[in-house]
């Protein structure tokens, strides 16, 4: 056997394609042929190098990125057919799905059970709107720490207890703390809250939940976008859930209504399918909708808190470009002046507050400081 034929054997050996007899032939040859031995070593080194090439993964979820395009395809294919549910997903993934316009027939999912919560939510939202102090200006939630305690506590209570009847006491600052504490006990009602009806109460309740976990108002999303003369409220924008904000929550446009109802469908669906997992269910219901940062000053990015992770989306395409790790009590999402860094606070496992800085360009996150 000459060296050229042996070369073929060597190659096949790299793929474990030789039988025992062939291995024997190969070995016999290489024992007496230093050149082939050297070649075989190099090929084996190459092969193991190829095997250990980095198993690269995309820097963001490609499926999430193409969901809007899939939605368009679906719409194009099926016209206005309403029964398709192309974006139905597992619970972990539902977040991104709910940001997208889809043609899901939400009425199919609507449960009678949710209706009670809906009515309760409507009542609470009504109360909330009455108590709501529109002077709370955007962007200076810290400065508002000194706002009247009555106003403040009504915020906290109305948000923590969402649909709970105890929120009715919120105008009375003395009762506010009690209302707050009572909130967890009212969980079942709270969880029904997002399952709103087809009236406008849903949109209003969206408004009422436009606060961070500390009960502080988040800046209205529309302020930044108006500056840019670029309306943010679009059907497939991740921030559609706040769309009622721009016009006082009373008269949202039809698109926003659709989206809100979409959301409703999803939550109602969850309530039906995840009865066994009450904790999870509660977390979904009580944390919805997501908390949002203002839009970055350059108008390119907006961050959201979804399932205890910070996620940054591009305003233009609603693409998720960054997702941080799970952290507790994420708050105070802020963009730097030049829009290059998003900072946010979160609680460490030991309870200390830490500030993280995210660079949307490099999609990386760094611990900035601990308090």
């Amino acid at each position: 056997m000459n060296c050229q034929e042996v070369m073929d054997y060597m190659q096949r050996q790299l793929d474990d394609d030789l039988d025992e007899r062939e291995i024997e032939i190969l070995m016999t040859h290489t024992r007496h042929c230093p050149e082939c031995t050297a070649m075989m070593e190099r090929l084996q080194m190459l092969s193991s190098g190829l095997t250990s090439l980095p198993k690269v993964t995309p820097s963001y979820s490609l499926v999430d990125a193409i969901l809007p395009r899939l939605a368009e395809l679906q719409t194009a294919q099926e016209g206005i057919e309403t029964d398709a549910k192309p974006f139905g997903m597992t619970s972990e993934q539902s977040e991104s799905a709910r940001r997208l316009p889809s043609k899901r027939k939400w009425t199919d999912r609507f449960s009678i059970r949710a209706l009670g919560g809906v009515i309760a939510a409507g009542v609470i939202v009504g109360l909330f709107i009455v108590n709501y102090n529109p002077n709370r200006s955007p962007g200076d939630s810290d400065g508002n720490m000194t706002a009247s305690s009555e106003d403040r506590s009504s915020f906290v209570a109305a948000n923590d207890s969402a649909a709970s009847d105890t929120a009715m006491d919120t105008t009375d600052s003395a009762n506010a703390a009690a209302a707050n504490e009572a909130a967890p006990a009212e969980e079942p009602q709270t969880e029904a809250a997002p399952s709103s009806s087809d009236d406008q109460s849903m949109l209003k309740s969206m408004d009422s939940r436009n606060v961070d976990p500390n009960g502080e108002t988040m800046p209205p999303l529309t302020s930044a976008s108006e500056d840019n003369g670029e309306p943010v409220v679009k059907g497939n924008s991740p921030n559609y859930e706040f769309s009622g904000q721009s016009d006082g929550g009373a008269a949202a446009d039809a698109g926003a209504t659709d989206n809100a109802l979409e959301d409703t469908g999803d939550v109602a669906n969850k309530a039906d399918t995840e009865v066994s997992d009450t904790d999870h269910q509660n977390s979904i219901a009580s944390k919805e909708p997501v908390m949002a940062s203002p839009i970055s000053k350059d108008g390119n990015y907006q961050a959201f808190v979804v399932e205890d992770t910070v996620r940054i989306y591009t305003v233009q395409d609603s693409l998720m470009i960054f997702q941080g790790p799970k952290r507790a009590e994420i708050a105070n999402l802020k963009w730097s002046e030049d829009s290059s860094v998003l900072t946010y606070e979160a609680k460490n496992a030991d309870g200390t507050k830490q500030v993280y800085a995210v660079d949307p360009k490099t999609q990386s996150e760094q611990l900035q400081s601990s308090k």
């Binding site: 070369m7 073929d8 190659q11 096949r12 790299l14 793929d15 394609d17 070649m39 190099r42 090929l43 080194m45 190459l46 092969s47 193991s48 190098g49 190829l50 095997t51 250990s52 090439l53 980095p54 198993k55 690269v56 993964t57 995309p58 820097s59 979820s61 490609l62 499926v63 990125a65 193409i66 969901l67 395009r69 899939l70 395809l73 679906q74 398709a84 549910k85 192309p86 974006f87 139905g88 997903m89 597992t90 993934q93 799905a97």
Partner: protein
């Protein structure tokens, strides 16, 4: 490996199953794209296009083929057809591949090749040879699976793979001897 049940459900029009399916394969799709087109941005574009094509064509998948080879056929076709590069470009800062210094290795016996060098060498291969290598090593495909994916006869796959390895070995050996790089 993707569950057959999930594929069936996706083909039957279950949108939820189809999206789950795409999520399961997206890393595999991206990986192939990355090593064939040679840079992150084009790989993202190619992989997204492949996933969209899979989304729209899922109905045309037939069970007689393996699902993974069907998927890889789509992504390799897209990479070869649409992202064919006019000239080889090499970027060294992606995915933190360390560019090792080989200035003084002439007399050293190296036990391995640097990943970056291997990648650069792969980039020099003709497209089909590159695709064969990528499927063999990044997807761990057998000769037959590669043949199915690339629609090539088995013997052609073998000869491409063998020639590609021979070529890579030559490039890398030259690097190691302190010869011309890149």
């Amino acid at each position: 490996m993707v569950e057959p049940g999930l594929i069936k459900a996706a083909q039957a029009g279950d949108g939820e199953a189809l999206i789950s399916l795409l999520r399961e394969i997206e890393n595999h799709v991206y990986r192939t794209a990355y090593y064939i087109v040679g840079n992150e941005q084009d790989a993202m574009d190619a992989a997204q296009e492949a996933l969209i094509r899979i989304y729209t064509k899922i109905g045309t998948y037939e069970e007689k083929a393996q699902f993974k080879t069907w998927v890889q056929r789509i992504v390799t076709n897209i990479c070869i057809d649409k992202f064919r590069r006019s000239k080889p470009t090499v970027s060294i800062d992606e995915h933190e591949m360390v560019f090792q210094d080989h200035q003084s290795v002439e007399e050293e016996v190296l036990s391995s090749y640097a990943a970056q060098d291997i990648r650069k060498a792969i980039d020099k291969l003709p497209e089909h040879h590159r695709a064969v290598v990528v499927l063999r090593y990044l997807q761990d495909f057998s000769y037959n699976e590669i043949a199915d994916s690339l629609d090539l006869p088995l013997n052609t796959v073998k000869s491409y793979l063998f020639r590609a390895r021979q070529q890579l070995q030559t490039y890398l050996h030259d690097y190691q001897r302190g010869g011309v790089r890149g």
